[in-house]
């Protein structure tokens, strides 16, 4: 469904995407994971026919993006990073407009169905400008799905919305799996792990890792980072933490420390220390593995 081979995209002399290749099969959600400036948006813009390739070949839904741009565009649903809106249109008119431009059969019915799916039906007469950020995000998804395209490309759909709505959007994306090929970009590792079947990690325009999300987990799971806050003298506590054999690294963070070490033993060792030294534990929580950490690990 999506076949990218040796894709290179340059802006003038600057190479934003540097010889990447990956595939996505029908029924698969593939995550495009990378920090800011990695080249996620650029890749997606090439896939949607918005920008040409500099070199390499890209096939979407069986058609080449360079030779059969219109065929590709007919079969792709795209939600750009910033949801493009017409503030003065009603919700219904907005989706209907895109449905008709993409030659959807029975456009009115399709619009009704998609508005229902995204719980926007009761707001269909509202002006787009009056929608909250989360609803706008849903409208962006509705627009991308209304013509029931086989391939769906979503550029960071969970950015800038509140946690409850993030969960909503993730559920929606997961529900698309059965009938579509989905390419989903993000810079949040845990999100990609939750939603995607496969992940392509890019950095500085190059692929640094690719595989199922399980493999990604194994590669990076062995180390755990914990935030611990223990009552008492900071220096003394730092010393005690450093003495734990399972701990490989201690860093001051907020009013406590971030410790890293072996996943299986770390918590236990900390609890033991607390009990032995009769300390008071104020807080202990795992720290989300940061993408940067993983890059460091993967690049090593």
């Amino acid at each position: 469904m999506i076949e990218v081979k040796n894709l290179v995209k340059k802006y003038g002399n600057f190479t934003a995407v540097d010889n990447i290749s990956f595939q996505a099969q029908p029924g698969e959600i593939v995550g495009l994971l990378g920090p800011n400036g990695a080249g996620k948006t650029t890749t997606m813009r090439v896939l949607t026919g918005y920008m040409p390739v500099t070199s390499g070949s890209v096939k979407v839904a069986g058609y080449d993006v360079t030779d059969d741009s219109l065929e590709v565009r007919q079969r792709v649903g795209y939600m750009p990073e910033q949801v493009p809106l017409y503030p003065d249109m009603t919700v219904e008119a907005y989706v209907l407009y895109w449905a008709r431009l993409r030659r959807t059969k029975n456009p009115k019915q399709a619009v009704k169905a998609v508005l229902e799916q995204f719980q926007l039906l009761d707001r269909r007469k509202k002006l787009v400008r009056s929608l909250s950020k989360g609803l706008r995000q849903r409208l962006g998804l509705a627009q991308a799905l209304v013509h029931n395209p086989p391939v769906i490309i979503l550029d960071e759909p969970t950015i800038g919305i509140d946690p409850k709505q993030v969960v909503e959007v993730r559920d929606i994306v997961r529900s698309l799996r059965d009938n579509h090929t989905v390419l989903f970009s993000s810079h949040i590792l845990s999100e990609v792990e939750q939603i995607c079947d496969r992940v392509v990690i890019i950095n500085n325009g190059k692929i640094v890792a690719e595989g199922t999300t399980d493999i990604l987990g194994e590669q990076t799971h062995s180390d755990l980072a914990l935030y611990v806050h223990i009552e008492g003298d900071k220096e003394q506590i730092q010393g005690l933490l450093q003495q734990i054999p399972a701990v490989s690294d201690v860093q001051a963070h907020e009013s406590g420390f971030i410790i890293r070490g072996n996943n299986d033993e770390l918590r236990h060792a900390v609890m033991q220390l607390i009990a032995e030294q009769r300390l008071e534990l104020l807080e202990m929580r795992p720290i989300d593995r940061r993408l940067e950490d993983i890059f460091i690990k993967l690049v090593d």
Binding site: Y50, M51, L70, Y78, P80, L85, D88
Partner: protein, 241 residues
Amino acid sequence: MQATWLVFRREIGQYLGSPLAYLMGAAFLLLTGITFNNDLTLSIGNKPLEPALIPSLLASIMILFAPLLTMRLLAEEQREGTLELLLTAPISDSSIVIGKFLSAWAYFSILLALTLIYQVIAVSIAFPDISHVLGSYLGIWLYAGATLAIGTLFSATTENQILAAFLSMITLIVLYFGDAISQIVSNTQLADVMFNLTLRGHFMASFAIGILRAEDLVYYAGIIVIALFIAIQIVSSRRWR
């Protein structure tokens, strides 16, 4: 075709649905109304009514009005990012540009048609030369099409609406008064040639005085085609950046 129609319909909806458009429409009617009324008062018992009065007035007004009407068309789509969705929809770039241009021209046509009310009044009291009147309306309609096409062109060049309006105003002023330059160097031959290249040269010397010439129709149609062609190239080039 289908896409052009869809784009056109959305745009005309924007014109007819926005308060700004109504303000502009009201200003347009007020201005033409006052001019007509003045002419009417002056004329009584003195001179016949000027048949091309309102079209002649509009010829100069369009230099300001066309940029205001068209500045939004493509600049706003670029700023809001909706152009990215349009360019990734299965439609041609020309249908976007042409649909937008036609909507501006249609909106202008509605306003122009409203000024025909004055002509009805004029006919009932002063018996002007109706073919002269209608000829001048045809002329200003084409003339406006040309200015709106130029406005559409500059709206495609930038995402800044004010800049788009400014650039098209400058272009229209040059196209309108271009012959003034040759008048300054007082070369009458050059002035003649230049006058024939200007927007008003093809209006004042023909439509305004009751003459219909093929060359004038070709001139305005030519400007429309060239300006839209360039606008389409600019929109397409965004795809390749």
